[in-house]
Symmetry: C2
Subunit: 721 residues, 2 copies
């Protein structure tokens, strides 16, 4: 099997002229907008890029450590971009929200009032854990990662990859101020070492009020048309030596290797647009069987189980006002997850994704002349192993995430076991650096636990577990909870009547002994955990063995898929994995359903229309007044005759792309990505060009706000405006 | 003051050529779509009608007792139209819903399954109170109505109009099978005697299942895009002598004087459309002061008071599951009323109606050369009298409509008083023909009353009443409830602890004595009613005196307004009053808000998109299968390449227009009106061409359903299809 990455893009086999013409059409039209490209791929799709309207040299985009892409950074949990020579970073209000919150006090409410630093001395230090990461190295390390793994299988393959990756990271991080990681491309086909400068001193420069930066909040989340000024400006500082440093008044502004220039004009429907950022995870190149499982089992089951937990918690809340308060946040989170799962299911069904991916894979296998069908069948076999225990794994996962005391007990017992090992060999999540997080979780139990609700939640989950076929059940769990609703109820009654883990002091005392690997106090839930954790560890071992096999076998599938895509004239991008990607497309309207059309640009008139004076549609008076005055000047859209706010593109994005800069054909900054539309929730699996859109702040709106509404002329000047 | 109706349309005064050109433009563009025209007005707007695209002779539309308008009938609470020579009546599913329900049994659920009569013998008799009214006479009787009133004022004017109207009706109804009424045009300017044939034997011929006829139900009510097959076919029968008769198996199909022909093709965006029907009530020609009061006081106050009652009832429901059930319907109704009021307020504000009507009236008064400003001021004075007691009247009205026992007591006491008079002189609502309704209301108290909730509702309403200024309060109410929350609470405690009206037998026994004018049983609530009813009667007398003055004075305002409109080149239609009207316009898209456009035609693809399998989006399997087959044939829209469902026009409609036929330029039937859009809720006061739309069933959808989904070829044949 070829491990040479260009094979992914090189057409193979003989193709007729007609087919080639047809495939070129496919490539430039039907599929032109799908793709989260690695910068190194862009020269290979230069023709498409130019045809789509890009005026620059695609070759200049190939190196993500050179301009302009080295102006694009990871910021907090999203993306950001340098927009001045003195280290101004533009990102979303919601990405920088922690920074704003950290600097807010009852007497100086920056969330509600926004913030403008009058000068550099007035810039406010971010929370110390906020980071901006500048990618300074991106090197293929496939041979180092896979060297020891080759010839192995299962758990051994997994461990070899894991050990090699950890070694690469640890060697790389010997350099001060640098954070490293190993990125897995094409599901184990290729590995890259990512070196990133870790900027630790960020300061708040400009934030609009929440009623602009988060106008519409949850109500408008995932919605289009949108009217949100979701942007904030930070500035990165480094030590006097130019190296990353923690906050110090002596630090100096970071001089980035390059920065983006805000465009002096704006886009309109059909305009070329391009976006760079750090998308988190997609599943586009999973097998047809995985698509079918997602639609036919995973998502419907998640909806069903979430519904049952929502019902249990709501019922408890009706009977008990205190429980209602304690579980408000967990309930909200379950409802969000339920909504996401239902939306993804709806989208995948609307796009007929299972059918289309199935047909695509059948065609791919028919086209595959390599005769290695047996190896592909082996991949299917490993996936089937995971499917065989999927319901159990879902239920036991929820047992951990949806309980408070039981999770505390299981965490403490696992920590006790892991603490006996050297720190670097402990399971992730139980290392020294994780202790603060564990302590925080144990402390917040107090604000989230009600005995009756936890028992009801566990009754729902474990009751369902009890009804699983024998092959999915575990002797440890059957021993603990029996096989009938009556035994389960009796077990939970006994456990929760006897446990003292509801007492914070008891939990923290247990943490003190667990972290030293010493025996835990006597408690029924801790005694239960001592019986269940070995089963959890066994399942984890089985999972890692399966993951090792998948790491070993998926590259073949990817290779066959790449050959098929090459035959179609469609280069293959790797699924998103948190590394820097580029997508290109255009401003495009959306027909979300019969007889409804959404224009791709919104205007300030929509703010006035949505404004109710009540959160989340409480546009601030200065904004409403400025809209009423109509004093838009150079930032107004000539064709619309008014000020634009947000725009919509068909760019390929997913979570992690928040704050991604959107560029025009000349590479100038025209927008800031901040959301996608509800119809695109399913795009992490399937890109449907009819429905996939991304939502951006129009930079003309940002400029207008900074010019006329909450003026910051010195910041605009610094950005060359 | 001129009473000659043509004055309403005749331009007066000298107008510059420029102004005339400008006004002509106004008339054909900005205002072309507003107007619920009396058929007699259509020849006067013939030029506009032709310019809009009407291909027929406007003069042929002038007489509502001739073809084609005599094919348009009142049906139940809405409108219908004859569509065959043998008396087939097409109306909405929701207008004929009572007929369908009346014929449904658990074993034969016509609501869920729909109904197709295999032949005439299979047609099912409607509920005996369902009526179809065919207008056979429409004659001006202004002189007869106003003859005795002239020279009088106030209550005497009111009584003179009332007596004359009742005499006209009673003389007219001497003819068997005819129902008569007197219609008041232009607010007392003109009166018409309406003679209508009262068809009493209606039979169900064709109804789609509820999941087509009411697809979307409350969720889609007032919404566009829409996908509802809201139509039903009935047949009118008469006695063998051709005269209206109650149901009899010997009756024969009614032969209408004319019927409409369904078009063989369908409309598209921009197509001319025209609609005839019986709109109920509009307020377009009210004074600027009345507009201001509606927006600044009436609607906000209604929202506020409804909110407070909703809060009271919901709070009670949280504490008491039985109360929640008993008040579910009242709560739903309050919420609907609240939503309507808030929607109307939002719409009037969005349209800036107060400002625009105010400016219009100022211009009108400036243009008015008649020097009768003092008389117009007198009208304003009468309106101000009503405004001075508006909050009291709102609260006392709600005290009646939102209570159960107190309303029962007040009704019984009033009936006792009225029953002592000869039947024809009793107050409307307390005559012999009203007794069944009163008895029904007294009976249903059992299913709608909870003591604690009624007391809480009255505490909210009367507590607010207690805070009114002295001038609005009534000595009888102050004596009964005191002036403080404490006295009110004590009074309600005593009244509801002591009353036995919660017992149905007691209420019905009281009805038996009240209907004979005899003394009522001893009961604290009845004793209270004996004190309060005289105050209610006094307020009613004051209201009638004011209404008499309004009847006397509004015609002057209307005359000045008509002169102003004539000067503008805009004929004036009378506000809707339940008489036959015609409006014309075209299929038009809607931009309800920033960046959103709704196309004016929906397709069956929208049904598939909306379908969830759950009520109200549970499209029936035969429909979904037929859509999936795509077998649309001649009923498909050529341009869209699929089957249309509903369409949207800018026609001027209001409640009562349900079931109105929509005609094309050739006068053929292309649609059936059934709803309007949410943005148009405020159109009863102000027609805003940006937002006012009407929603229709596309006759191609009806034909397709009857051809291919639930076939009824014999009915289609009868309709000439």
């Amino acid at each position: 099997m070829t491990k040479n990455p260009p094979a992914i893009f090189r057409p193979r086999g003989r193709v007729s002229v007609v087919a080639l013409a047809c495939l070129a059409a496919l490539a430039t039209h039907a599929q032109a907008d799908e793709g989260m490209w690695m910068p190194s791929q862009l020269p290979q799709i230069a023709a498409q890029l130019r045809e789509a309207g890009y005026a620059g040299d695609p070759a200049a985009l190939a190196d993500l450590t050179s301009a302009p892409l080295n102006a694009v950074v990871r910021a907090g949990g999203g993306t950001g971009a340098f927009v001045s020579a003195d280290g101004l970073v533009l990102t979303n209000h919601h990405v920088a929200f922690g920074v704003i919150q950290y600097n807010s006090t009852p007497g100086r409410n920056l969330i509600d009032n926004g913030f403008i630093a009058g000068d550099r001395a007035g810039e406010l230090p971010a929370n110390p854990d906020f980071r901006v990461l500048v990618t300074v190295g991106f090197d293929r390390v496939t041979d180092q990662v896979l060297g020891a793994a080759r010839g192995k299988s299962g758990r051994a393959y997994y461990d070899a990859v894991d050990v090699a990756s950890k070694r690469i990271v640890s060697e790389c991080e010997r350099e001060a101020g640098v954070r490293c990681s190993v990125a897995n491309m094409y599901y184990g086909t290729d590995f890259y070492r990512v070196r990133q400068l870790e900027l630790r001193d960020l300061r708040l420069v400009y934030a609009p009020p929440r009623s602009i930066g988060n106008f519409g909040d949850e109500t408008d989340n995932f919605m289009w048309p949108r009217h949100t000024g979701d942007f904030t400006l930070l500035r990165a500082y480094v030590g006097a030596d130019g190296k990353p440093a923690a906050f110090s008044p002596d630090n100096v502004p970071y001089q980035p290797p390059s920065h983006l220039q805000v465009a002096s004009d704006g886009p309109q429907e059909g305009s070329f647009a391009m976006l760079a950022g750090y998308p988190g995870i997609t599943y586009r190149h999973r097998t047809a069987a995985e698509f079918a499982e997602q639609v036919e089992w995973t998502l419907p089951t998640r909806v069903e189980v979430f519904d049952s937990l929502i019902g249990v918690i709501e019922q408890a809340g009706r009977e008990n006002a205190q429980a209602r308060t304690l579980y408000a946040s967990q309930l909200q989170s379950l409802k969000n997850n339920r909504k996401r799962a239902a939306g993804e299911l709806e989208g995948l069904r609307r796009s007929d994704a299972v059918q289309l991916r199935g047909a695509d894979e059948r065609d791919m296998l028919q086209h595959n002349a390599r005769g290695d069908r047996r190896e592909l069948d082996a991949l299917a076999g490993v996936l089937a192993q995971a499917s065989a225990v999927r319901e159990r794994d879902l239920l036991l996962g929820l047992m951990m995430s949806q309980s408070q005391l039981l999770r505390s007990a299981l965490t403490l017992e696992r920590l006790r076991i892991e603490a006996a090992k050297p720190d670097e060999t402990r399971e992730a999540g139980y290392q020294a650096r994780d202790l603060a997080l564990i302590e925080g979780t144990l402390k917040q139990v107090q604000r989230r636990y009600d005995r009756a609700v936890e028992k009801a939640v566990l009754t729902a989950l474990l009751g369902r577990y009890q009804r699983l076929p024998d092959a999915q059940r575990l002797p440890e769990f059957d021993a603990a909870f029996g096989r009938t609703p009556a035994t389960l109820a009796a077990a939970l009654d006994t456990l929760y009547a006897g446990t003292t883990l509801g007492d914070e002091a008891v939990r923290l005392a247990a943490l003190a002994t667990a972290r030293e690997g010493r025996a835990l106090p006597v408690d029924p839930l801790l005694a239960l955990a001592a019986k269940l954790v070995p089963a959890q560890v066994r399942l984890e071992d089985e999972r890692k063995a399966r993951e090792g096999e998948l790491l070993r076998q998926r590259p073949l599938y990817m290779d066959v898929l790449a050959a098929w895509r090459a035959h179609q004239g469609r280069p293959l991008y790797p699924d998103a994995n948190g590394t820097l990607r580029v997508s290109y497309g255009r401003l495009e309207s959306l027909q979300p359903r019969d007889a409804v059309t959404y224009a791709p640009v919104t205007t300030v008139q929509g703010i006035t229309q949505k404004n109710t004076g009540q959160v989340p549609f409480d546009a601030p008076r200065p904004l409403l007044d400025a809209i009423a005055r109509g004093d838009f000047g150079a930032t107004a859209d000539a064709a619309l005759g008014t000020q634009t706010v947000n725009f919509l593109t068909n760019l390929d994005t997913t979570g992690g792309n928040s704050g991604s800069p959107v560029l025009n054909a000349r590479g100038e900054l025209i927008g800031l990505n901040f959301d996608s539309n509800w119809e695109a929730v399913s795009a992490s699996w399937w890109f449907d060009p009819r429905y996939k859109r991304a939502v951006h702040v129009d930079m003309r709106y940002m400029r207008w706000l900074m010019e006329k509404v909450y003026p910051a002329p010195h910041v605009l000047r610094e950005m060359g405006l």
